[in-house]
C-alpha cells in the first residue's frame, strides 16, 4: 500500500467526523436550556422583540430543519448574522481567524523547537541532573494556568522590564492585508520595521501559549526516546558498527518522534483552547477573542461559527499529524502489526 493511498484514506476519514461535529455543535446550541433570542436581547427586551428575533433566526422550526438550513447556508458562506458585529459570521471569521492561526502556529513551533531537544537531552541523560531539571520544567509547564503565566510574563517583560509590548499585534503602521498574518504580510511587503514590531508583539503571547505543550512534548519525547534506546535494534545497529550518536539522532529520534507526533496533535487542540485565554490577556485581536466576546454577549451564531472553525482546525491538525506519522513510521501505513 502506497503512501498516497494512505493519505487519501486518512483525508476521507475526516469528513464524517466533521459532519458529526457540526451536528453536535448545532444540537448543543439549540437543545440546551435557554432561549438564544432571549439571551441575546437580555431580560428587559419585550416578548415581541424576542419573538421577531426567533422568527428571524428560524428558532421555531424543528431542529433538523434548522440544521439543514444552517448547513445549506454554510456551503454558500453564510453563517448567520453576528449580534456583536452585525456582519455575517463567515466574514468575521475570515477577518479574525488569521491572527489566531498565526499565534497558535508560532506557539506550536516554539513548543516543538524547545520541547523536542529538551526531551532528548533528558532522555540521553536519564536520571542525571539534565534529566531532573528538564522533568521539573515539564511539570511546571503543564501545571501553570496559561492565563496566569500570561499575566506574570506581561508583568515582568512588559511592565517591569519594558522589553516587549504588553498588548496588540503591531506597533507601527500595519502592512497591507493579504493573508491577515502580520508576520507574513510584512515580509511580503518587505516592510522590516513592521516585521520587527510584529515579532516583538507575538513573542510573549506565543511563548505563553507554548509553555504547556512544550512541557508535554518534552515529557513525551523523553519517555519515547528512552523506550526506543532500550530496543534491540539499537544494540543490533551498534554492534554492526554504527556509532551511538548517529543511532541516537537518526534511528532512535525518528522512531520516537512518531510517538511525539500523537502528543503534538493532542496539544494542538489544547493550544487552541488556551488561545481563548491568551488573546484576552494580550488583547490579541483574533478569533478566540471574538469567540469570548460572542460568548459574553450570547451571540449564538458567532459561537457556533467559532466552535466549528476550532473543530475544523483540530481535525485538520490531526490529519496532518496522522499523515506525518505515516511518513515517519511505515508500520502505520501497512496497517501496523510489528510490535
Amino acid at each position: 500500500m502506497g503512501f498516497k493511498s494512505y493519505v487519501i484514506r486518512r483525508t476521507l476519514a475526516g469528513i464524517p467526523v466533521f459532519i458529526g461535529l457540526s451536528i453536535l455543535i448545532f444540537t448543543l446550541a439549540r437543545v440546551l436550556p435557554g432561549d438564544p433570542a432571549r439571551l441575546a436581547l437580555g431580560p428587559r427586551a419585550t416578548d415581541e422583540a424576542v419573538q421577531s428575533l426567533r422568527d428571524e433566526m428560524g428558532l421555531d422550526d424543528p431542529v433538523v430543519v434548522q440544521y439543514f438550513d444552517y448547513m445549506a447556508g454554510l456551503l454558500q458562506g453564510d453563517m448567520g448574522i453576528s449580534l456583536i458585529t452585525n456582519r455575517n459570521v463567515a466574514a468575521d471569521l475570515v477577518y479574525f481567524f488569521p491572527a489566531t492561526f498565526e499565534l497558535i502556529t508560532v506557539g506550536m513551533l516554539i513548543a516543538i523547537a524547545i520541547g523536542v531537544p529538551l526531551g532528548i537531552i533528558a532522555g540521553r541523560n536519564k536520571d542525571e541532573a539534565e534529566d531532573n531539571a528538564s522533568r521539573l520544567f515539564a511539570f511546571f509547564g503543564v501545571s501553570m494556568p496559561a492565563f496566569w503565566a500570561a499575566i506574570l510574563l506581561q508583568l515582568v517583560f512588559a511592565f517591569h522590564l519594558g522589553l516587549l509590548p504588553a498588548t496588540g499585534r503591531i506597533g507601527v503602521e500595519a502592512p497591507p492585508r493579504l493573508t491577515g498574518m502580520m508576520l507574513v504580510d510584512s515580509l511580503i511587503a518587505m516592510d522590516f520595521r513592521a516585521f520587527r514590531s510584529a515579532v516583538a508583539h507575538i513573542a510573549l503571547p506565543a511563548f505563553t501559549l507554548a509553555l504547556a505543550p512544550m512541557a508535554d512534548i518534552a515529557r513525551m519525547t523523553r519517555s519515547s526516546f528512552i523506550e526506543e534506546l532500550n530496543k534491540d535494534y539499537v544494540h543490533a545497529l551498534h554492534s554492526s558498527g554504527i556509532p551511538g550518536k548517529l543511532i541516537a539522532y537518526k534511528y532512535v529520534l525518528k522512531s520516537s518522534f512518531a510517538a511525539t507526533l500523537t502528543i503534538i496533535a493532542l496539544d494542538y487542540g489544547f493550544l487552541i483552547g488556551s488561545a481563548f485565554l491568551i488573546e484576552i490577556v494580550f488583547a490579541w485581536p483574533g478569533m478566540a477573542r471574538y469567540g469570548v466576546d460572542a460568548i459574553l454577549a450570547n451571540d449564538i451564531n458567532a459561537i457556533v461559527g467559532v466552535t466549528l472553525v476550532v473543530g475544523i482546525v483540530f481535525i485538520v491538525a490531526n490529519l496532518v499529524v496522522d499523515i506525518l506519522y505515516g511518513y515517519f513510521d511505515p508500520r502505520v501505513r501497512y496497517g501496523g502489526d510489528g510490535e
Binding site: L21, I25, L32, L39, P145, I151, I280, N318
Partner: protein, 301 residues
Amino acid sequence: MSAIENWYHSESMENRKESARRIAYRFRQNPLSLVGLGIIVGLVFIAIFAPYIARHPQDAGYMGEPAVDFANRFAEPSLAHPFGTDQAGRDILSRVIFGTRYSLALGLFVLTFAIGIGVPVGLVAGYVGGFTGQVLMRITDIFLSVPPLVLALAVAVPLQPSLRNAMIAIAVVWWPWYARLVYGEVISVREEQFVEASRGIGASRIRIMFREILPNVLAPITVKFSLDMGYAILIGASLGFLGLGAQPPTPEWGTMIAEGRAYLPAQWWYSTFPGVAIFIAVLGFNLLGDGLRDVLDVEVD
C-alpha cells in the same frame, strides 16, 4: 499483570498485603510523587479546615457578609495580610484558602460524572461491540474532535454563568476521554484467555464486564483520574477567569485572577497569589499522577 490487578485479583489477605506492599515500595522510589501526595493531602486538609485556618473567614463570605474595609484596600503583602488585600480590603490569603474548596469540589464533581458516564460507555462499546459499539464510539470521537475548553465554553453559554453550571459544562465534555480509554483497554483484553474462560463457564455479560474486564482498566483510570484532577481544576479556573464560572465575590481562584487583572500592574499581588494556588494544586495532582503512572506501569494518553 500490573500490581494493582494482582491486588484486585488476590484471594487471600496475605497476597493482597504483598501486592499493596509492592505498590508502596515502587511509589516510595519516586520522591516527586511523594511531594505530589503531600501537596494533595495538604490541600484536602486546608479545604476541610478552611474556617479554622483562614484568619478572616468572613472575607471569603464564610459566616456572614464579606467585610468591606475600604481603609485597608490594596494593602501590600505584609505580616497581617501575607497575600495583601483586594479592592474591598479583603484578605486575599483567606480567600485563596477558601478557594481550595471550590476547586477540589469542581474537580471531584467533574471527574465523578465523567467516569460515571464514560466508563460504562467504554465498557459497553468495547465488550458488546457491533452496531451499538460503533455508534457509541463515533459519538465519543466527535466529542473528542473539539478541544475540551472550547467545547465547555460553548456548552457554558446557554446555561448562564455560575460555578455549578461551569461544573456541568466541563463534565459534559469530559466523559468521552474515559470512554475512549476504557474502550481501548477492553478491546485489548476482550479476547484474552481469562475472559474466554469466564464466558466458557457461562458467566453473564454484566458479570464478565464488571468482574473480569473492569479490574484491568482500574490502573489506567486511577492514573488518568489523578492527572485529570489537575487539568479539570485548570479548566474550571479558566472558565472563572473568562467570567463563565463562579461569579464575584465567590473566592474562586480563576475569578479572583480576572478581578485582579483590572488593577495591574500596580496591585500585582491580587492576580499573582490565586495563580500560585492553582499552580500548586495542579502541580500536586500532576506529580502524583505521574508517579502512579510509573508505579502502575500504564500509559494513558
